[in-house]
Structures are given as C-alpha cells and as structure tokens.
Amino acid sequence: MASYALRVNGKTRAVSVEPSTPLLYVLRNDLELNGPKFGCGLSQCGACTVLMDGKPIRSCVTPVASAAKGQITTIEGLGTLERLHPLQRAFIAEQACQCGYCGNGMVMSAKALLDGNPAPTELEIKRALDGHLCRCASHNRIVRAVQRAAREMRP
C-alpha cells in the first residue's frame, strides 16, 4: 500500500492503495465517482476516459502512481445537473445516447478536443472520437452534440 494525495476535479483526495491499482478503481470505488466506466480494462473502448492535465487518458490502464502528480478531471468535474458544462448540455439536448454507457468517454475526449480546437470540422470530431466505441450506434448524435457544444462555447 502507498498513500497518494490525488488532485481530482480541483480537490485533493487522500487514498491509500497499491501503486499499480488502475486509476479507474480509485475514482469509482474510493472517490465514488460514477462517471468513468469499466468497459474493457484493456484501453480498447474508451468508456473509462478521464483527463490528466487536460489530456484524455484511459484510467483503466493508468496506474494510480503515475496519476499522482497530475490534475485529474472527470465528467463530474465539468459540471453538475444544476450547472451543466456546455458539452453536457449539448449531449442532453441532442439526446446523444441510448444506454449512455460510452457517453462519459465521448464527453471527456470531446472536452480535450474543443480545448485545443474550438471549431473542429466533422472529420476532426470523428477522428478525435475514433478510439471510442459506441454499441447503441449513437455516433451521429454524438458528433452533432460536439458540434453544438462547440458553437455554444465560442465567444
């Protein structure tokens, strides 16, 4: 066991776990964050995506030890039901899911995309999300949601 002061969604959270523990289980079980999902544990599907220092990472294969120095952002850190982030608002407005299990990863990768490219083309959005799987086949709605958020976020 080792102790870490993780910086998650702007707060410092102390946890005591094995250094090799995937960040995902710390976020879900120790910090009780529901956003990041277990999908494959193999970095293949993207459901577990969170941001570390603004970059999307797959928390299912990221040891907590290597996340200890970064700023972690989960979908809970973007906004709340009462104060939605424009991406969350756009995904809801476009009804951009069926089951929604992949939605966390889509939103988080879209956040990283829009932070670096406020006006992405459709192709750029699809490229940014190509490593994310969606089984209900809400892809077109997801692309529209990212486009909508980009429009809303532009000054």
Binding site: V17, E18, T21, P22, Y25, R28, N29, E32, L33, N34, G35, K37, F38, G39, C40, G41, L42, Q44, C45, A47, T74, I75, E76, G79, T80, L81, L84, Q88, F91, I92, Q95, C97, Q98, C99, G100, Y101, C102, G103, N104, V107, I125, K126, R127, L129, D130, H132, L133, C134, R135, C136, A137, S138, H139, N140, R141, I142, V143
Partner: protein, 741 residues
C-alpha cells in the same frame, strides 16, 4: 434505485411486504373457473389498477411497469402516455420499473413490445383511474362528472370549486380490477404523446449520476469476479485455492464443481485474485465445438434435424416459372457485445436474497434463482438496475446468479460482481449462426410465382423461463449441475428462428421450412431481432436477385407484388426521400440498394435505401448514407423512434460488415474488442429517418425494425455497384475481394 441507500433487512421486508398486502398482483386469470374477460396489453395478466399506478398525496403519480429501461427511453414514453390519460404534467410522473417486489410481472422486456404491452396497459389503466378520480371529485364538488374539467390533476366544477387528485387520492379506490371500459383519449387530445419529450434517464448519465447497476454501492460491499472454464464443457481438475485466500483483501474463494469465483475487499484485489486462480487452475478440455467458417454451415445443414413446415401457400392459378434461381445465405454467430460487461449486486440476509441486475425479466430470473438455491420465490427479490445496452439476452441474468453464489460466502456482505471483458465475449449467449436456402421462380411477366425459404438455426431464446430447466450459465458449472433443458423455438406468428421468414409479399406459391437445431454446442439466445435479421437479409436479398433476373427495378418489383397499403407507403416514402432513380446501376465503386420489412410481420414497417462505396483494392465497403421510412403506428416519442431506427441501422451495418465470433474446435477465441471489431466513427453512415405517423392506430414496436432491412439494403447496394452478390455475412474485406476477383 438509490445507489447510496443502505438496504436494511427491515426495509427489504417492508417493501417486499407491499407485494402481498398492497397489490393483488396474482393474476386471477390463473383460476380456471373464473376466467375473466381479456384486457388490453399487459393488463390482461396484471389486472388490478393499483398494480399500474398510484396517486400520491404529495402531488405526484407513480406508475409501475414490468418493462425496463434499456436505453430505449421506455420510462419516458410510458410517462407520456400516463400523463396524457390522467391530465397531469409530465413532471409529476414517477416511474418504478422491473422490481419483483413492486411492479407488475410483464415477463421479458423484449421483442419491441414494451410500448405495445405496457403502454397499452398504462393507457387503459390511467384512463380508468381518471374516471374514478372524476367520480370522487363529482361527489366532493357536488357537480356531475360531465361538467368537470381537469388541468394538471386539478378538477374544476363549473362554479369554480376545485379538488385535486392529491386530495382525492384517499377516496378514489384503485384497488380494483380494471374493466377497460374507460375510453382512452383520441390522438387529437394528446398533449405529451407524439412529442419528442427529452428522455428522463439522460441527464444523470452525462453528469456522473448513479445511473447503472455498476453504480450501486451498499454498506460493507465487496467485489466479486468469476473464473470461467477455458472452454464449454471443461472440467476443473485442480486449483490452488489456499494461495489465493492468502492474497491481500481476499474475502472468499468459491469453488463448486466447475464454478470458480472470488470476492475481495477491493475491486483490483478481486481482479488480481481472479488472475491468480486462472493461472493455477488446471482444466480438462474437450473439443466440443463445431467447425468454423464455411464448414460451420455445411455442418449445420448436415445435422439430422427434420424440417418443419412453417408456412405453405399454393395457388393453382399461378403460371409455371419461366426462370428460377437458388441462393444460399449464411450468418455467423454474433455477439451482443455490450459496452459495459454484465454486472450484478447480490446480498443474502437471513435466508433471503436480494439481487440488482440489468435483467430484461426480473420475474423469470427470480423463478430460476429460486430453483438453483431451492428457496421459494418469496425469499428472493430481483430489482432491475440499468446496465449498458444489452440488445437482447446477454450476461445480465447469468451474472445475477454468479453474484448470488459468491454472496453466499460473504456472510451477509453484499457482493458487486462484474464480468471482465473476456468473460463477456466468451460466455454471453450469441445470436445463432444460420443458413437460409432460398429458391424462387418468376413468370414471363417477371412476377414471382414460386418462393421457398428453408433455414437452419439454433435457438434464439434460451432466456430464464424459456424452458423447464435453469437457463443461467453457472447452473451448468455447479457440482449439482442442473441438466440443460433445450428451449422450444419461439412459435409463429412472431417466430424465433423463422422470424420474418414468411414473405409479406403476395407471392402465389410459398413454402417456408425450418430446421430448428435445439442442441447447440455453442450457447445461443436472443440477439436483437432473433432470426429476423438473417431472414430479412436473405429474403430481401433474394427479392433483389429475382428483380434483377426479371430485369425490373427493385422498388417497382416490390410494390407490384405487395398489397399491404402501409407497407407500400413506407417503401414509396423511403424511395422518394432517397431520390431513388429506377433502373440505375452503380459505377463499380458506388451503388444503391433497397430493402423492406415489417418486423415480425406484426410490428413496425421499415423500408430503406442504402448508398455504399467499395474500395476494390482493399475490399472495404463503406456505407455512406441510409434513408429510411418507418410506420410505427401511433408514435409516442418521435425522437425516440428515430433514435431506435437509426441506432438499429448503424448497429446492423456493423454486424453486416464486420462481426463474427471466432472459435476453434475447443475454445471460443473471441476475447476482446481486438478480436471483435465493430463500426467506428469514421465508418458510420449518415442516416435520415422519415416517420409516417398514424395517430389513433395501435403502437407498433420499433427497436428491432431496421436491422434486417439494413443488412439487405447494403448487400443489394453492393450488387448494384459491382454486379457481385454477397451472401455470406459479414462482408469482410477478404470476402469482398474474393467476390470481386
């Protein structure tokens, strides 16, 4: 579901007690001497009004449904129906679904029947409840019912006096059997039905709310994992349990016959312990699987299973065929491949079991758990908690048994057990491999005069409740193994293996024969559409082949042999919106195909045109655009219908272009997404959906309406582009290159 709420034994008993006391759910239909009149939808088997709704003193209405949320938006659609019939704002409706202690038993949430069955029941029950409330209001206000008006649950008399539903809740007795005498509202008076109301389940899904069974957390909860055998039929010879028990955090190692599982204080500890068990376990394996690839289909057809005639129609008037054609179509085993591996939470307390899982049928699941544990159903509560989209019978029921087996060893502590990705791929019940042999003949005018569809398939329904056995995976692995009892095929008119095998076209001579192979070396069950996807793929491909043989335009060819006016209307609407140009051939690399089906020949009508592009060098097919038209009867939520149809088309494009389960003679070798690629963002077609609303018509399910036509439209588009016919699913680059060579 409240993910954080501790479920004490007292609360558990209190809520399950309501089953016995509050709701008379036991269907009186069971009493033969007292056979009541049939009631609409699921009211027929759940006949008490208070089983469906409760007017709450706090100004809300709770509706109860046995159908569960699968990401199809059923909770929202049912709320719309209830709000309209009761004259209350949508925001007042609370939904309780899929809980053996609280809701009606509506069997499985399957077959695109939820709006038809549960929606119809709620519509009728709420209309009747409104009449009862109005009668109570009339007595209170001293005015005749006919002169009362209702707005958002407030009943007003002409003189201005009012009474609210919430005041009347005590005097309006809903503990009575429905009569279905109250007339539901005409479509013109609907305020919520017919509108694209935003889904109630979505906001929490994008804000980290407790939305899924994976988010259920109970006090003292531990984490479980299973260690499945490496192959079907494998026998556990030895495993070093003691070493694993000594690992950090391990709470229990469960070994029962060939069932092996572990529980640990932390999830990653359970995963490590699973790895350790896997490494030390020694199994005896047998080569029990069928041959793969093309040999699979020859094998399936060679089995000594006689054909059963499903449909036969003959006409003496029809002329003899001038030209005939035969074609063999095949479909491999395919996965549900849910994004989130199956997960359940289970807890045993004083001989009582509570289970939370994403089962599509909590009542049938409860019945089978009761058999495995040899306890009465009253001692088991199964509660639906949403999981990732399941698309049919995946591991959601199986994992409930896994969790319950592990929870027996944790001394009352709840166990959250989630499958790993390889568990899901290797052990979910697949959509069955199928062979469809089509033969047909056209006369001199180019009309179909003979049509034959012969198919070979394993089961499409081995869900809990589908046979007298126990259809839960681990039951096969326990030391006291439950003998497998093969399920019967789902009978017509909806059909299982033969779903949609009977053409809706008015062909004069038709014969449909099925070879239902009940014994299956690889476990199969309901994958969205059951046999419908493969049968429509074959049927609508073959219609296209005969149209080409007749030198006819595929759309005109369909229309001239189809009397059903609603079928014709969707075909015409799809062709029109797609800008269909008759008798146009593709240019070798690009083409357009058309297809149609009425799902189950009972549910929604769906027609579509697909545009494809074929890269000859790589053999890659890209579906660029699909334009579909749908008639779903009266539409409750237009955006919900579009979402289902669009999702169905894209999912089907993925099945059709990419998906097949891999296996050798011993093991399933599909274990991860790397082994089972699905369609990605860059490959997804643009989709346009035209809705043909039919206000006043009965609801027709849409969740499975588009998959079959999508497969055929893609195949027909490839043929249109290249002149080459693809008859073996999926259309992988290797197969495409082979066909074009």
């Amino acid at each position: 579901m409240s993910a954080r709420a501790p479920v004490s034994r007292r609360r558990f008993l209190a809520t399950s007690g309501a089953l016995v006391i509050g709701f008379a759910l036991a269907p009186r239909v069971a009493l033969a001497q007292d056979r009541p009149a049939p009631l609409p939808g699921s009211l027929n088997t759940n006949r008490m009004l208070d089983a469906w709704l409760r007017i709450e003193p706090n100004g809300t209405v709770t509706i109860f449904t046995g159908k569960i949320e699968l990401g199809q938006g059923i909770g929202t659609a049912l709320s719309q129906i209830a709000a309209d019939e009761l004259d209350v704002d949508l925001g007042r409706i609370q939904v309780v679904s899929g809980d053996t202690a609280r809701t009606p038993n509506e069997g499985q949430t399957a077959g695109s029947l939820s709006v038809e069955q549960s929606g119809t029941a709620l519509r009728v029950a709420c209309a009747e409840a409104r009449e009862i409330l109005l009668a109570a209001a009339a007595a209170k206000l001293g005015a005749p019912v006919a002169e009362l008006t209702v707005k958002d649950g407030t009943v007003a008399a002409p003189a201005g006096a009012t009474a609210t539903y919430w005041d009347l809740a005590g005097s309006a007795d809903l503990k009575r059997e429905a009569t279905a005498k109250a007339k539901p509202k005409p479509a013109s008076e609907h305020r919520w039905v017919g509108r694209s109301v935003p889904r109630r389940d979505i906001p929490k899904k994008f804000t980290g709310g407790a939305a899924y069974v994976q988010d259920v957390r109970l006090p003292g909860m531990v984490f479980g994992r299973v260690v499945r055998p490496p192959s079907p039929g494998a026998q556990l010879r030895s495993v070093d349990e003691a070493a694993v028990r000594r690992m950090p955090g391990v709470v229990a190692v469960v070994r029962d016959g060939n069932f092996l599982a572990v529980a640990a204080a932390r999830e990653e500890q359970a995963i490590r312990a699973r790895e350790a068990l896997k490494t030390s376990a020694r199994w005896g394996e047998t080569a029990s699987l069928p041959p793969a690839d093309d040999a699979l289909y020859a094998h399936l057809m060679s089995l000594p299973v006689p054909g059963q005639t499903v449909a036969e129609k003959t006409s003496a008037d029809a002329s003899a065929p001038a030209k005939t054609l035969d074609a063999l179509y095949t479909r491999p085993y395919q996965c549900h491949a849910s994004m989130g591996p199956s997960c359940a939470v289970a807890q045993w307390q004083e001989g009582k079991l509570a289970v939370w899982t994403h089962s599509q049928g909590v009542f049938p699941l409860r019945a089978e758990l009761a058999k495995v544990f040899d306890v009465s159903v009253e001692n088991i509560r199964c509660v639906h908690a949403e999981g990732a989209g399941c698309y049919g019978h995946n591991g959601a029921d199986d994992v409930a048994l896994d969790a319950a087996l592990v929870a027996r060893a944790t001394e009352g502590r709840p166990v959250k057990l989630q499958w790993m990705r390889d568990d899901e791929f290797a052990w979910e019940p697949y959509g069955s491999a199928m062979v469809m042999k089509l033969s047909g003949g056209i006369d001199a005018q180019g009309n179909v005069v003979t049509w034959s569809h012969e198919l070979w398939s394993h089961s499409h329904n081995t869900r809990p409740g589908a046979s007298t056995g126990v259809n839960l995976l681990a039951a096969r692995h326990l030391a006291t193994s439950r003998p497998l009892v093969a399920a019967q095929d789902v009978p017509q008119p909806s059909g299982g293996s033969d779903r949609n095998a009977i053409p809706l076209y008015d062909f004069p001579n038709v014969k449909v024969v099925k070879h239902y192979v009940a014994d299956a070396p690889i476990r199969t069950s309901a994958l969205r559409t059951l046999g419908g996807y493969a049968n429509v793929f074959a049927l609508e491909s073959f219609v296209d082949e005969l149209a080409l043989l007749a030198g006819a335009d595929p759309v005109e060819f369909r229309l001239r042999q189809l009397k059903d006016a609603r079928a014709r209307a969707v075909i015409e609407a799809a062709a029109r919106r797609a800008g269909w140009q008759p008798n146009t051939h593709g240019d070798g690399a690009r083409g357009r195909g058309f297809a149609f089906a009425k799902y189950k020949n009972l549910a929604c009508y769906c027609a579509m045109a697909a545009d494809v592009e074929i890269e000859h060098k790589t053999g890659v097919i890209r579906v660029a655009r699909v334009v579909a038209a749908v008639d779903a009867g009266q539409i409750v939520n237009p955006d919900g219908v579009i979402n289902q149809i669009e999702g169905g088309i894209i999912q089907s494009a993925s099945w059709t272009l990419k998906e097949s389960v891999r296996f050798d003679r011993t093991r399933v070798t599909t274990r991860s997404w790397a082994d089972y690629p699905i369609l990605r963002f860059g490959e997804v077609p643009a989709v346009e959906v035209v809705l043909l609303d039919q206000p006043g018509e009965r609801f027709l399910g849409v969740g499975e309406g588009s998959q079959g036509p999508a497969a055929a439209a893609i195949a027909n588009a490839v043929a249109n582009a290249t002149g080459k016919r693809l008859r073996a699913l999926p259309f992988t680059p290797e197969r495409v290159k082979q066909a074009l060579a």
